[in-house]
């Protein structure tokens, strides 16, 4: 049995489910299909413990791991592959109203899930929660990328204000700043974003603020195109993103100014492709989305690895068959 752990309405999961069905899999609880392949359960950790029950028992020398989704009961030991697509945070039932109780419940549930997942002998994509979290850390995966021979920009992770002017001068005034990790915050009660920021002399005047939170400082890398490279097992798909026509997305394509950004399939050099797959395996994952810049001189500069990075837009805008690759990996490990 294949387990898709994701919130309802996840478009990526819908696409992979469709690909699984094309390969003969059938959704648990859906009797309309005629697939003869493995059953697929789509369940969201956000339903636990509010709407689902999990029992792990060790009695009489026997181990039982049961998931009751509210409509069906699943023996979790039957799971052969797990895809953590967009899992919801565990959530208490609505009747638990006291905030500290809810927080307590959520923590207990997360801990319970980690324990249960640790006992599954299934293959995981991209990996278990802890693996994803560790690999997503930019400092960790950048070090591995350098060890594997990737070209990376000179990079400083720091909360020392004294580093800013040095980095700015080293970059000859063409410096960008990024967050260590994207976490939500507000300014005057409104949600704000800190995209890749081109550092100006104005930014230098408030260097003291860096002491409050570490940032990433890198020289601006001139780009011919940006790449999002999707690795699924040993398969590697590369999409190029040309944001040069968009004022909004020129420095950070995550502004998604799709009318002015061109997407296309990119042919990676074989050794770069191989190295991408090696990096993902090296950081302990079976899937990741890697971001690169291709310089006007043709150099591939590694920027970062996203443990569970988005691929839906890559498939949508380039036609690269990522959902089918994920389905294949879940079915049989993606062996040709």
């Amino acid at each position: 049995m294949i387990l898709i752990v994701s919130s309802r309405g996840d478009g990526a999961a819908e696409r992979v489910l469709a690909a699984l069905r094309r390969r003969g899999a059938r959704l648990v609880g859906d009797d309309t299909g005629d697939g003869t392949g493995p059953p697929v359960l789509w369940w969201d950790t956000g339903d636990f413990p509010g709407h689902s029950r999990i029992t792990a028992s060790f009695t009489g020398g026997q181990r039982r791991l049961l998931l009751d989704t509210g409509t069906k009961t699943i023996d979790l030991s039957r799971i052969t592959a797990v895809w953590r697509s967009r899992p919801g945070r565990p959530s208490a039932a609505g009747t638990v109203t006291e905030p500290s109780h809810r927080a307590h419940v959520d923590e207990q549930a997360e801990f319970m899930l980690d324990g249960v997942w640790s006992l599954l002998t299934a293959r995981w994509l991209p990996g278990r929660r802890a693996d994803e979290r560790r690999a997503h850390n930019k400092i960790f995966h950048m070090a591995r990328a350098i060890e594997l021979g990737f070209s990376v920009p000179d990079t400083v992770y720091t909360n020392d204000p004294a580093e800013l002017a040095d980095a700015y001068e080293s970059a000859e005034g063409r410096l960008v700043a990024k967050q260590i990790t994207a976490e939500p915050f507000q300014v005057d009660g409104a949600e704000h974003r800190a995209y890749t920021t081109v550092v100006t002399r104005r930014h230098l005047t408030s260097r003291h603020r860096i002491q409050h939170e570490p940032v990433i400082l890198q020289p601006y890398v001139p780009k011919a195109v940006e790449l999002r490279v999707i690795v699924v097992g040993t398969r590697v798909f590369a999409a190029e993103i040309d944001a040069s026509g968009s004022r909004a997305a020129r420095d950070d394509w995550r502004h998604y100014d799709n009318d002015r950004v061109r997407y296309g399939v990119h042919e990676l050099p074989a050794e770069v492709s191989l190295r991408c797959a090696r990096l993902v395996a090296d950081v302990g994952l079976t899937y990741a989305a890697l971001d690169f810049i291709v310089t006007p001189g043709g150099e591939y500069v590694f920027l970062e690895l996203n443990s569970n990075g988005a691929w839906g837009f890559v498939e949508l805008w380039t036609g690269l068959p990522v959902s089918d690759a994920i389905a294949g990996w879940l079915m049989d490990g993606g062996t040709p």
């Binding site: 478009g11 696409r15 700043a177 967050q179 915050f185 300014v187 005057d188 409104a190 949600e191 704000h192 974003r193 800190a194 995209y195 920021t197 104005r202 930014h203 005047t205 408030s206 260097r207 003291h208 603020r209 860096i210 409050h212 939170e213 940032v215 909004a248 502004h255 100014d257 009318d259 002015r260 061109r262 839906g312 949508l316 036609g319």
Partner: protein, 328 residues
């Protein structure tokens, strides 16, 4: 300490105390103006640096140096705000409106407005409806060449672009490259296909639920500023000739779907004269139904039912949508 050093120290204190939000700029200018008036010899000038996409502002103070030249002061205080948060932008910076999960930039909104073809919709509603269609269309299968060609032809016909040259002129006016025009037509084609498929899907059910709306009705009616009184159909038509020469009347002799008739005529049995009835937008209507055929499920009727059902479906989505305009 020299006088100038004292002024500098005072200027720094001034800058550190100014409000760092755009709503406070007037107060900041007033405060700085009062400060400058106390130091006329340095001709101080406050410069406000308004950053796009955030309420946060920065200030510089320009001063004359006693020996000539300009001194620029800036003095962000320590207020405990992390650096990248201080330099962040509102999540919707660059967006005009969000409809449910669809965020629309100003350039995207303009391309939506270019597709305006109906006089009964405000630009605001048109943008929202387009967003709802984008959301509903979602990720779709590739379009056929025939779909794309039909959409491009319809688009050009609707704008009188009958040849390549006039199309290129239109693209130049809209600032679109060939690639952007192709993407633009593709998006319209996706929505057009979605609408066609949805209408076909909804039509039978809508017709079955509302057969009365799709009766075919032959009717004649007169509207105008003056009341037209008639006892019979022939009175109605001959009476037009005897109207005074003030005002204007419109006589319509037509076959319509029941739901498309003027409201006073809907559901009235054939033969009887209706009116004169005052219309909601002013003027009067007098008319009669000549003949009514019950609805059938022929192709034309199903198409009309599909259009009506789709309009209703879209209205429901619009009523349930979360719409947030980002005007600032």
């Amino acid at each position: 300490m020299t006088d100038f050093a004292k002024v500098l120290e005072s200027g720094v204190s001034l800058l550190r105390a100014l409000p760092r939000r755009s709503v406070g700029v007037s107060d900041a200018r007033r405060t700085a103006g009062e400060w400058a008036a106390r130091h006329p010899e340095i001709r101080a000038r406050l410069v406000v640096d308004r950053r796009p996409g955030t309420p946060v502002v920065d200030y510089d103070l320009l001063l004359d140096h006693p020996d000539g030249g300009t001194v620029a002061l800036t003095a962000p205080p320590e207020d405990g705000v992390p650096w990248l948060i201080d330099h962040s932008t509102h999540w919707a910076a660059g967006y005009l409106v969000s409809v449910n999960d669809v965020d629309v930039t100003v350039p995207q909104a303009l391309t939506m407005l270019r597709s305006l073809s109906r006089g009964d919709s405000s630009p605001y509603r048109e943008i929202i409806d387009q967003c709802l269609l984008v959301e509903a269309t979602g990720e779709t299968e590739p379009l056929s060449a025939a779909d794309l060609q039909a959409t491009a032809d319809e688009f050009r016909r609707g704008r009188g672009l009958h040849d390549r040259e006039s199309t290129l002129v239109w693209m130049a006016e809209a600032g679109m490259s060939g690639e952007q025009f192709e993407a633009y037509i593709t998006e319209i084609a996706q929505r057009r296909r979605f609408r066609r498929d949805r209408e076909a899907e909804l039509a039978p059910g809508h017709l079955a639920a509302n057969p009365g709306d799709f009766a075919r009705v032959r009717a004649v009616w007169v509207t105008g500023e003056e009341k037209v009184t008639a006892g019979t159909v022939s009175d109605l038509l001959t009476g037009l000739a005897s109207l005074g020469d003030t005002g204007e009347v419109t006589a319509t002799f037509a076959t319509r779907w029941e739901a498309d008739l003027p409201a006073p005529l809907r559901g009235t049995p054939p033969g009887g004269i209706v009116g004169p009835v005052e219309l909601p937008d002013g003027g009067f209507l007098t008319g009669t139904v000549l003949h009514r055929s019950p609805a059938t499920d022929d192709r034309e009727t199903l198409a009309a039912a599909g259009r009506a059902a789709f309009t209703g479906w879209l209205a429901e989505r619009r009523a349930a949508a979360t719409v947030e305009w980002h005007w600032s």
